[in-house]
Amino acid sequence: MRKALRLSRFNIASLALGLAFLYLPILILVIYSFNASRLVTVWGGWSLRWYHEFFNDRAMIDAAWMSLRVAVSSATIATLLGTLAAVALSRGERFRGRTLFSGMLYAPLVMPEVITGLSLLLLFVALNAERGFWTVTIAHTTLTMCFVAVVVQSRLGSLDRSLEEAAMDLGCDPVRAFLSVTLPLIAPAIIAGWMLAFTLSLDDLVIASFTTGPGSATLPIRIYSEVRLGVKPEINAICTLVIALIAVVIVIASLASKLSSSQGESAAPL
């Protein structure tokens, strides 16, 4: 029997204050995206005008399309590499310098983005690589791969090693054992990792602005440069769409991680 959670007045007040602090700005942004008025701060009635404006803004649409492509491709590559790194670190033989290696894998988690962006820019310049879609994708992959590795590795760590041994005992070679037993069991964590990488890439401004080239601005870069000239209500509409997309992705990711926890083992953290 679960006792109903009773909140004191102080708890309710602090909860309301906290939530308001977090979500009031976003709520205002969403409401003002439906504003009919040209002025951002003056309410002029409900309208879908700015959404219409956005879908006719060629440059904005191009930037959004670029962001989506970068996010999907960098998330996919990061998921592949991050999963392989997690498997190597938690399943491979103990090798010299393993602790150092796993520490280095997680360094981008705490590395200031300016440093990551600048170092990548220097690399691309040194390599004389033409900056654009691929350089941003590679940069985002290096940023998000470690997040995927963390999520997948924690799931692998909670998996019983004897499951793989049982598969081998029942006639699987090590590769088959991984594919038929381990992979289905860590799939929810891999999906969650992909979603995380996708959203991280979608909203990154700093690294993208270091590594992108002329004519291939991502959505955050585009929005940032527009805002510098003054906030247009159209920006509110775009931001509302991005919030909606990210909300959907987060919900799917947490459902996936919940699915993984309902399979008896502890869930991947998200």
């Binding site: 019983d160 004897s162 041994e165 005992d169 029942l170 006639g171 069991l185 399979q263 008896g264």
Partner: protein, 390 residues
């Protein structure tokens, strides 16, 4: 080690030998197998023959190397030294999936994403059986372990006992020559464990598959196995039938590990025909039946199982009675532990030591029971004594 004081064949025969007399080639031959983790020698030169159709138990405290040995048989660890011959073929370095051996894991290791049916069919699919054959074999296994009606369930929808059956069915489905069981009953409660022990024995008899079970529970090993190998610090301390292990342990450590025992240390005093008279510090002079000459020093230990110690209110007076009770020790009841079926009395001996006597409660009304501080005589025959190197 106490190897000098080996049981002779005659002494071993007296307490019952291996019920499977050797018939040609053993199924499994382990030759000088060793494995170290760092500087810790987990398995240290084990040699062992196991015949086809045997129910063999590897018994030992945790950390004695029994699980490592089992994992080497399954192929999860490779021995650093020695050979493992299965049907004459060396499999010491074969991968797990290349051996006609299956293992039942301690925590069962059922695949959580697969149903009971798919768990059991897993190994059969890998073996490349046709669909019909797989379906037939799965049905056979489900019936064998009495899981009918649960085929579609996932492991987390099963009870502990049911999971144990699925694990067993999955391991047996490929019809291995050798089935390895790693503490198969450790996760079950006592009642279920006892009924499962009987079922496992029945199953083994019916299938004729060779079983090797690893356990730290000496009662479990004694109940199920036809032969037991006791392991200590990576070595096999004794391989014997349950009866021989209990009645003729080869060392003091084994005597104390397998069941309860009273041990009195003492010195060799004199030989009188088949009898060996030993002067102990805590129980006075004891007469034992030991035809062999003690080797390597005169320090010996006398071990007597508690149920072999009888209690009486006074020493027997008849000639034959005195002869049987040649070892009779005066003492006083110090402690009483009532266990239902039997009662264990702790007797403080006048000579200084303590002896435990286990008495069967054969009558419902405790007319025969002793009380604390009562003077008693604890006695046992020379045949009940086991002489061990101290």
């Amino acid at each position: 080690m106490t190897d000098e004081l080996h049981r002779t064949d005659a002494a071993a025969d007296a307490v019952g030998r291996d019920p499977h007399p050797s018939a040609g080639q053993p199924l499994l031959r382990i030759e000088g197998v060793a494995k170290a983790f760092g500087t810790f020698r987990a398995v240290d030169g084990v040699s062992l023959d196991i015949k086809s159709g045997e129910f063999f138990a590897l018994l030992g405290p945790s950390g004695c190397g029994k699980t490592t040995l089992l994992r080497m048989l399954a192929g999860f660890e490779a021995p650093a030294e020695g050979r493992i011959l299965l049907g004459g073929k060396d499999i010491a370095h074969a991968l797990p999936h290349q051996r006609p051996v299956n293992m039942m894991f301690q925590n069962y290791a059922l695949f959580p994403h697969l149903s009971v049916r798919d768990n059991i069919a897993f190994g059969l699919k890998r073996a490349g059986l046709a669909r019909d054959d797989i379906a037939r074999r799965v049905a056979e296994m489900v019936a064998l372990v009495k899981l009918d009606g649960l085929e579609q369930r996932k492991p987390d929808q099963l009870s502990g006992g049911q999971r144990q059956r699925v694990a067993l069915a999955r391991a047996l489905a490929r019809r291995p020559q050798l089935l390895l069981l790693d503490e198969p009953l450790a996760a079950l409660d006592k009642k279920l464990r006892e009924s499962t022990q009987a079922e496992l024995m029945e199953l083994q008899r019916r299938l004729g598959t060779t079983f090797i079970i690893v356990t730290h529970d000496q009662e479990e090993a004694m109940t199920m196995a036809s032969r037991i190998g006791v392991m200590k610090s990576g070595k096999l301390a004794q391989v014997a039938s349950p009866r021989e292990l209990y009645e003729a342990p080869r060392s003091r450590w084994i005597a104390e590990f397998v069941g309860d025992v009273n041990v009195f240390e003492g010195e060799f005093k004199l030989r009188d025909g088949h009898r060996l008279v030993i002067a102990t510090r805590e129980a006075g002079t004891l007469v034992t039946a030991e035809p062999r000459e003690p080797v390597g020093g005169t320090k010996l230990a006398v071990a007597i199982r508690p149920e072999k110690v009888k209690l009486a209110r006074r020493a027997p007076v008849s000639e034959t009675g005195r002869e049987a009770a040649i070892n009779s020790l005066d003492g006083v009841i110090a402690d009483i532990c009532y266990l239902g079926g039997s009662t264990t009395y702790k007797v403080k001996l006048d000579a200084g030591g303590t002896v435990q006597a286990s008495v069967v409660n054969s009558a419902r009304l405790d007319v025969d029971a002793y009380s604390v501080n009562q003077n008693v005589v604890a006695w046992f025959t020379p045949d009940d004594c086991v002489v061990l190197q101290s």
